[in-house]
Symmetry: C2
Subunit: 140 residues, 2 copies
């Protein structure tokens, strides 16, 4: 998660089940400086906390063996993102992340406009990409 | 990458160096069905190809040992995203991904509105989160 970088080391792989767009995504990409057990404890604590935040829609996280991690959390509004940013324990985790855990990170706040889900063997198997349309649909 | 899911198995961990927002992000989250060498070959080919696409700004990718992968690619415009979606070899990879590689995936297209970078030990070390502001700044 942004500023604290919880990881999914002990969670089963699962994709977030978000509602239909629009909503917000916080894309947190990071490279770790050290492998600190406290980092993992904090990550689990953040995963617990975020789940109770107002406007929280879900999250996905992966860290490659080479040390690059990506966590994307999904939010109903910018207000919800701002509220989570200021959450007390999360603030402590953010500070600790800067002081100890992260060599480098980027946080991007993005407005999700379109989404599709593919599941092997399901009806939606034929849906592959969100429609990309820059202009409003023509008249019918 | 969306629909093809290139992975970074053989690339060093590195964060994308994107320009100032706004720009677009394609967030591709996936769970693999099988571990197929051809998946990795295709991933490397897609990484080669995407780098030459017009409007491509960079990408980041991580797959956890448990099999959840997140690849985020960054683009100058929706037109650039659409162009990449239709790239010939990429189309083949997308089809193959649905038929063979992926148990499940989600593709989200999002408009990146804010971004911050943190580097340990650098001047920007004090920057932790993008400013989150829903209303225009007040008068000064």
């Amino acid at each position: 998660m942004p500023g604290s970088g919880w990881a999914t080391d002990r969670l089963p792989p699962e994709l977030a089940r978000t509602p239909e767009p629009p909503y917000y995504a916080v894309i947190f990409s990071s490279i770790l400086r050290i492998d600190d057990p406290a980092y993992h404890w904090m990550s689990e604590r953040m995963a617990e906390l975020v789940d109770r935040q107002p406007g929280f829609l879900g999250w996905e996280s992966a860290r490659s063996p080479e040390g690059l991690g990506i966590t994307v959390s999904y939010w109903a509004s910018l207000e919800a993102v701002a509220h989570w940013k200021e959450q007390h324990e999360h603030r402590i985790a953010q500070r600790r992340g800067q002081e100890v855990w992260y060599a480098r990170y980027t946080i991007r706040i993005a407005h999700v406009e379109r989404a599709v889900v593919f599941s092997a063997g399901s009806e939606s198997g034929s849906v592959d990409w969100p429609a990309i349309r820059q202009d409003p649909p023509g008249g019918r």
